[in-house]
Symmetry: C2
Subunit: 262 residues, 2 copies
C-alpha cells in the first residue's frame, strides 16, 4: 500500500480573514501524514490592484493579467498571502515552506494562447515536477503553494489555484495514495444553493452534468468541479468540503462533505 498524501486547496475567507486562517490552520495541523497546501488569493489581489490605482480586469470571472497585474499577483500570492500562511503555520508548530510553481521548476506552464481571448500572463499547467516538493516533505516540511507558475524560459505566470491543486494531486498519484480536498465555507455541493441541508454526499460525473444543465450548481463552483473531476480518475479520493472540517474529512470521522465518484 502506498503512503497517503493529502492535497488541500483553500481560498476565500481563509486568505482574507486572519481569524478564519487561524481556525483553518489548527484543523490543517491535525490532518495526518504528508500534506500539501495550495492557496488562492484573488480578493487580496483585487484589493492591492485598487490600492495601486489599477482596475482588476476580468472576463467571465477569469483575471486578465497584464504586466502590472502580474507583478501584483506575484507580490500578493507569492509574498503577502503565502508568507502570511507560512507564518501562522510556523507559529502553531507546523513547519511549512512557501513556494510558487516557478521555484525549483516545480510547476511548468505555458502562456495561454491569445486567441480567442487574450488573458495576458496567464499560465496553463504543462507539467508538475514532484522532486522539490518531495524533498521538502521527506525532510518534514509542508509545502505551501502560491498560484504562480512559470515557463521553462523563466516567465512567471498567473495560474488558477484550483487547477494547481488538481495537477499537483495527479502528479503525485503514482507515488502516493492521494486525497484531494477542495475546502470551502460550505459543506460541499448543495442540491439547492439556498438550502445548506441539501448536501449531496456523493456526486457522479453524469449527475454533475445534469445539475449543471439545470443551473442548480453555482457558477463559481463549475470550474472548481471541472478541475476536481479532472483529477478524479488519477487520485484515490476527491472531496469538496468545509475547510473547517478538513481534519475530520481526512480521518473519516464526518460524513458532511461531497465525494466525487465516476
Amino acid at each position: 500500500m502506498m503512503e497517503k498524501l493529502t492535497v488541500i486547496k483553500v481560498g476565500g475567507k481563509v486568505i482574507e480573514d486572519p481569524v478564519t486562517l487561524k481556525e483553518f490552520t489548527e484543523k490543517f495541523k491535525l490532518v495526518p501524514g504528508k500534506k500539501i497546501l495550495v492557496h488562492g488569493g484573488g480578493v487580496m489581489a483585487d484589493k492591492m490592484l485598487q490600492r495601486m490605482g489599477l482596475e482588476p480586469k476580468k472576463l467571465d470571472g477569469r483575471r486578465i493579467t497584464d504586466e502590472e497585474t502580474l507583478d501584483t499577483v506575484v507580490m500578493v500570492y507569492g509574498g503577502l498571502v503565502n508568507k502570511g500562511i507560512v507564518g501562522v503555520l510556523q507559529g502553531i508548530g507546523v513547519s511549512a515552506v512557501g513556494v510558487t510553481g516557478m521555484d525549483g521548476g516545480s510547476i511548468v506552464s505555458t502562456k495561454r494562447p491569445s486567441e480567442p481571448f487574450d488573458y495576458g500572463f496567464a499560465g496553463d499547467v504543462q507539467q508538475v515536477n514532484t522532486t522539490m516538493m518531495n524533498s521538502l516533505m521527506h525532510s518534514g516540511y509542508v509545502p505551501v503553494i502560491a498560484p504562480i507558475t512559470g515557463t521553462e524560459e523563466g516567465q512567471l505566470l498567473n495560474t488558477n489555484a484550483d487547477t494547481i491543486a488538481s495537477e499537483v494531486a495527479k502528479a503525485f498519484s503514482d507515488q502516493y495514495e492521494v486525497e484531494l480536498i477542495y475546502g470551502f465555507e460550505i459543506d460541499g455541493v448543495l442540491e439547492d444553493i439556498n438550502d445548506t441541508e441539501s448536501l449531496i454526499h456523493e456526486i457522479k460525473y453524469d449527475e454533475y452534468q445534469v445539475l449543471k444543465e439545470k443551473q442548480q450548481i453555482h457558477s463559481g463552483m463549475i470550474p472548481k468541479l471541472d478541475n476536481a473531476f479532472g483529477a478524479k480518475k488519477f487520485v484515490s479520493r476527491v472531496i469538496i468540503g468545509n475547510y473547517i472540517r478538513v481534519n475530520e474529512i481526512s480521518l473519516n470521522t464526518t460524513e458532511k462533505y461531497t465525494k466525487l465518484s465516476t
Copy 2:
C-alpha cells in the same frame, strides 16, 4: 576537507535593473559547487511604498517597519524580487528555490527592542536552522533568500540582508568550508571612494577601524563591513567584490576584490 559552500549577497542594481540581474545570474551560474544567494530590495520597497501612497520611514538609513510597511516588504522582498530572481535563474538552467527566513523556521529572529528607538517590525537574527536549506541543496537546488525572517510565534519581521548573509554563512561553517561574498557595483573597499584604482586587496580589522575613523569609508559600507567582519572568524574567506566577477572571485582567477583578514 569539507565541501565548499559559497554564500553570495547582492543588492542595488542587481535587484532594480533587469539587464544587470541577467548579467549577474549568468556569472552566478558559473560559481562552482553548492551556493546560496541572499538578496536585498530596499529601493524596490521604497518605490512600492510610494506607489501605495506611503512614506518610506528611515532612521540613519535603517527602515522603520510599521505594519503597512511590513506587508509591503513581505510582498516586495518575498514575492516580487525573490520570484523575479528565481525566474531568471530558472530560465538559464539554475534550479532555484526562493524562500524567506520564515520558511521552514530557517532564520529565527526576535523583534528589535523598542528602546532606544522603535524600528517597528524589524528582526534581529537569533538562530539559523540549516536543515531546510541543506535539504534543498542536497536535492540540487540553489536557495535564494529574501530578507524576511520570523519569530518562533510566527511573526514576520523585516531583516537586514547583509546580516542574513553573514548569519547564514556562520551557521553553515561547521558543515562546509564557507566563502562569503558581498557583491557590489564596485570592485571592493576603496582607499579613496573617488578613485576606483585605489582598491584595497586585503583589509585587516584594525585597518578598517582606522579608515572608519578617518571617514575614508563610505557610510553605507560601514554596516556591511561590520557584518562581514562579524562572519570572518567563522568562515574561510570573506570577500567584498564586484558581483559581475563573482565567478572569477570564487574560482580565484581575479585579484580585483577586497579580502577581509584578521
